[in-house]
């Protein structure tokens, strides 16, 4: 599903270049549940963003579902991203002005899905996540764990092929974190490809593969 070859990412500060990612070669197949681990500042988020097409590498090739993403213009990348990728953030990043229901619904609006269908999809998901009672609340009225549940719901409502999660439990108590991880496991079992970043060994255990990254290089790639 994902094939990265010789990916480089650097920032220029004055005359010096600082590499964030160096010579990344990585392949991820459909149905995998992979975990990226590594110390702070090692480039995990950057890698995830490149895979999620929010960022572009300075060098190297990126194929997604056999399509050469590195050759695409912004518009086409946005389209790919919209149809196949869902994102979950450490800081949830819900829209403050929208209710739970509306936050989950928004991706469907951008996918031009009919109103009746939208309603059904959101209702199903709310039901599945046990959040029907909370659907009219605003994000600031929820606990962190509940907000992240909404974040996950929003990420998957569009039925993406790939779910990217950047430290999804980083801001949560461990019990809340477990709920999210169980959810991921369930999604994985249902066939979704998942790529998560985490610092927690325990969370890595949920996955099928661990990729360790340090100073921009992939150091190790193993099954947990």
């Amino acid at each position: 599903m994902i094939r990265l070859s010789n990916i480089e990412r650097f920032y220029k500060a004055g005359l010096t270049k600082t590499w964030v990612l160096r010579d990344i070669n990585l392949e991820i197949n459909e149905g995998e549940f992979a975990t990226i681990m590594g110390p702070s500042g090692s480039g995990k988020t950057t890698l995830l963003n490149i895979i999620g097409m929010l960022d572009t590498p300075d060098q190297g090739e990126y194929e997604f579902l056999e399509e050469p993403v590195h050759k695409f213009r912004e518009r086409r990348r946005t389209e790919l991203h919209k149809h196949y990728i869902g994102f979950v953030f450490q800081a949830y990043h819900l829209i403050d002005e929208l209710t739970v229901y509306e936050n989950i619904e928004t991706p469907l609006l951008y996918r031009k899905i009919k109103s009746s269908e939208r309603k059904a999809m959101v209702a199903n998901l709310l039901d599945e996540f046990n959040m029907v009672a909370k659907k009219d609340l605003f994000p600031h009225q929820l606990s962190g764990g509940q907000q992240q549940l909404v974040g996950v719901a929003r990420a998957i409502i569009g039925k993406p092929k790939l779910l990217l999660a950047d430290e999804p439990t980083g801001n949560l108590h461990s019990s809340q974190g477990e709920i999210i991880m169980d959810l991921f496991k369930q999604l994985h079992a249902d066939g979704m490809t998942i790529l998560q970043v985490t610092h927690s060994e325990k969370n890595a255990q949920y996955g099928t593969r661990v990729i360790e990254i340090e100073d921009g290089y992939i150091r190790r790639d193993y099954a947990p």
Partner: protein
């Protein structure tokens, strides 16, 4: 999706109530002001636009020229203008001539007399030219025959009541009988011709005037002449042909001294201010300035909107980032932000329309113009405003929308990264400079206008206008009138409150209508001919008005020969090229064949307002009926009203009650001349104030953002030991810098525009540097107080709070 945008826009507006309120108030106040101003401007510009053939109709204006310099310029020109031009210039289809306006005494029933203004003689072609609505009568023939008249509906109702006026006879001045052949709808206010009675011109030309002089005289002025040109004629090229026609009809000399030019009908109201205008002319410059102020107010309100929205966009970057991550593309975001702009702008314009409608009558009162009070009476203007609203919404919505939708999600979502503020900041600084520039410009203009007004009002007029009541002579005068006038004066003088009384042909406070070409005795009109303004006055007149005699003496009843004496003003001495006022004494002057001697010279005085140049004036004694138009009564005390009843009794007794006594107070009469300038000053100041207020409001909110963003920095500085005043200084510095730039840019522009305005005044102030300094200082002070206040609040905060927050 649209419902979603609307819902979102609304929630966002609610969440940011303060900012929205400021944006909104600015827009509403701005739009209200613009609606009101533009209504006024539109009305002033709408004059004579209702004539169906208006673009083909031109007024012939006559210049009297001597040595290449026009010394008199008439709205109603030479008697011969129409016939000569129509005969010789093939591009002219037809012409119409009018004579007037006159004031007249009119009756139908002998015992019900009406004083009517605006009586004209008009040619039969009148209704071919002008689109005044003839309610009854035949447009082609109603003014053809001598002794026929058309009257307005209002006058018809007043004079005839329920009777049908058609075919009835009205009597003017107790003797001239006219048959009513037409009834005209009242002419609209926005017509430079306002009439109540139209008498057939044939009456004047065929009956009153002999030898066809009213059609052939080149030296007789006061005929309003309008031409209808063939379609697609270039009117600017016709003037040389007029000259050729004059030279062919008379001779080269006449053609040189009597020059015709054309005025497009719709331009007359705002651009023409000549002798014998039919209505007080509009102030074209003032209208232009107000139009500009309207636009500036709108721009300021729009800039506020742009500034505040982009400042706010920092806070919305995260939302933009999220939306892009979950699948929004840029155009969807642009639509979303535009929707918000549309919501705010739409509500604002609705409120503005409501306010403008409510304030309409008060505004009409303020500008003292007979304009319609509601914008809904003017669909064209309404459409322009709506278009303007659409454009404004687009412009103000588009930039913030483009800016906000441009954020890259990974940047927008990373709290530690700079979110590409630099570009937006420069735009914002530019807009702030522009707003301050406008503020400086408006403050400086207001000061200049105010100073000029004060200068005019404080100027030594050279005459005293106090404690003077002026009684107008009766309209109907027979051969005994001069004698009756003497009796009236003697009787009034006996009243204890009356200090002195004198009769005259005109009084201060207006340009003198009587112009006379005069020369030194012994010379003929061909040798030299100086255009003077003439006042016929009793000998007491100059003393009563406190004119200063700088050489010789005033006229006097004690000198037997004084029936043929006269006074000149200084300007008159100059025109005659006498070496000094003293050397003018004893000189003899040929006044229309009469020999008069200069017995004194008065210091130049402002007969009309200091806006007009002082002209050469000759003061003569009252010799004929028509010269005794006014009785000026100087009173002992200011309490004049109680005397008026007494005087009315005397008036009725002496003159017989043929018309009621009309009177006015001279100082008020004189001040009338400042009315249009005073009005302009008032309106300009008011709306400039509004503009500045809206600007400040926007600035206040903008600074709140800046302070908010720098809260952490402020906290750190305080921990490091900075004083409160030090912090206020740091925050204010940037804005003060912008004000200075704005001032530097604004001053030359103001200087240019105000110079143009001042050029309209013969006597005017110099624009002094301190005016600009004061304007800049004021703008700096305003900026400093708005910035300073907010910074102070921020600087006073406990540093620990702000550091924890961040």
């Amino acid at each position: 999706m649209w419902r979603n945008y609307l819902k979102l826009g609304w929630r966002h507006i609610q969440r940011n109530r303060n900012i929205t309120a400021i944006n909104f108030i600015g827009l509403v106040v701005g739009m209200t002001a613009v609606i009101l101003i533009w209504q006024y401007v539109d009305f002033e510009r709408s004059y004579d636009k209702f004539h169906a053939q208006g673009d083909q109709i031109f007024r012939v204006q006559t210049d009297r020229i001597k040595d290449g310099i026009p010394f008199m310029q008439f709205a109603g020109g030479a008697a011969c203008a129409g016939p000569v031009i129509a005969r010789n210039v093939p591009e002219v289809e037809d012409y119409v001539k009018l004579r007037g306006p006159n004031e007249s005494l009119l009756h139908y029933h002998f015992d019900q007399k009406h004083v009517v203004d605006d009586v004209y003689f008009a040619m039969g072609t009148f209704f071919d030219f002008f689109s005044f609505e003839l309610l009854e009568g035949d447009a082609g023939t109603c003014l053809k025959e001598p002794w026929t008249a058309c009257i307005t509906k209002t006058l018809a109702d007043k004079v005839f009541g329920p009777e049908n006026p058609m075919g009835k006879t009205i009597v003017l001045e107790n003797e001239a009988e006219y048959v009513v052949t037409g009834i005209v709808a009242d002419p609209p206010e926005n017509s430079h011709l306002g009439f109540s009675v139209l008498l057939s011109y044939a009456t004047f030309s065929d009956v009153f005037v002999s030898d066809n002089e009213s059609e052939t005289a080149w030296y007789w002025d006061g005929y309003l002449t309008y031409l209808k040109l063939k379609p697609n004629t270039n009117w600017q090229e016709l003037e040389p042909k007029f000259k050729e026609a004059m030279a062919a009809t008379y001779d080269e000399e006449v053609a040189e001294s009597t020059v015709f030019s054309l005025q497009p009908l719709p331009d007359i109201h705002l651009t023409s201010n000549l002798l014998g205008e039919t209505k007080p002319p509009g102030d074209g410059t003032a209208v232009k300035f107000l139009f500009l102020v309207g636009i500036l107010i709108l721009i300021i309100a729009w800039f506020n909107y742009i500034n505040l929205t982009t400042a706010q966009s920092m806070n919305r970057a995260r939302e933009v980032g999220i939306r892009k991550v979950i699948g929004s593309n840029r155009s969807a975001l642009i639509r979303q932000f535009m929707t918000e702009a549309v919501i705010i702008n739409a509500i604002a314009i609705i409120c503005a329309l409501i306010f403008a409608t409510l304030l309409g009558p008060a505004f009409v009162n303020m500008v003292d113009t007979p304009m319609p009070t509601s914008i809904f009476d003017n669909p064209r203007l309404l459409m322009i405003l709506l278009a303007c609203f659409g454009l404004g919404t687009f412009l103000t919505g588009m930039y913030p929308a483009l800016l906000q939708s441009s954020y890259k999600p990974i940047q927008a979502l990373n709290p530690n990264l700079n979110r590409g503020r630099i570009k937006a900041q420069w735009v914002r600084k530019g807009l702030v400079v522009f707003q301050f520039g406008i503020s400086v410009a408006l403050i400086a203009s207001t000061l200049v206008i105010y100073n000029q007004m004060r200068y005019m009002q404080k100027r030594d007029l050279g005459i005293s206008t106090e404690k003077t009541l002026v009684i107008e002579g009766p309209l109907f005068r027979d051969s005994t009138y001069l004698e009756l006038g003497e009796t009236f004066k003697t009787e009034l003088a006996m009243l204890p409150a009356v200090k002195s009384i004198s009769g005259s042909s005109s009084v201060p406070g207006e340009r003198i209508g009587w112009t006379a070409g005069i020369q030194k005795w012994g010379q003929t009109e061909e040798d030299e001919n100086y255009g003077f303004r003439a006042i016929a006055a009793d000998p007491e007149y100059s003393d009563q008005y406190d004119m200063e005699i700088i050489a010789g003496r005033s006229m006097s009843r004690d000198h037997g020969a004084d029936a043929s004496s006269c006074l000149l003003n200084e300007e008159g001495v100059k025109v005659f090229q006498f070496e000094s006022p003293e050397s003018a004494l004893g000189e003899e002057i040929n006044f229309w064949g009469q020999r008069v001697q200069v017995v004194g010279v008065v210091r130049d005085f402002h007969q009309a307002s200091p806006k007009a140049k002082i002209e050469p004036i000759i003061l003569r004694n009252v010799a004929q009926n028509w010269m005794l138009n006014y009785f000026s009564v100087k009173l002992v005390s200011d309490d004049m009203l109680s005397m008026v009843e007494n005087m009315k009794g005397t008036y009725d007794r002496v003159f017989g009650a043929n018309s009621p006594m009309e009177y006015f107070f001279l100082d008020e009469h004189y001040d009338q001349q400042y009315k249009s300038e005073a009005l302009f000053g008032k309106v300009f100041t008011f709306f400039s104030g509004l503009a500045i207020l809206i600007s400040c409001l926007g600035l206040l909110a903008l600074i709140a953002f800046v302070v908010e963003r720098r809260r952490k920095e402020i906290g750190i500085r305080k921990v490091l030991g900075s004083s409160i005043s030090g912090i206020v200084m740091i925050l204010s510095k940037d804005f003060l810098f912008l004000v200075i730039i704005a001032a530097v840019l604004a001053i030359p522009v103001v200087h240019h525009f105000m110079k143009g305005w001042l050029d309209g005044f013969a006597y005017r102030i110099d624009m002094e540097w301190w005016v600009f300094l004061v304007a800049v200082l004021l703008a700096v002070a305003i900026a400093f107080f708005t910035v300073g206040y907010q910074s102070l609040v921020a600087a006073r905060q406990n540093p620990v709070d702000s550091l924890q927050q961040a």
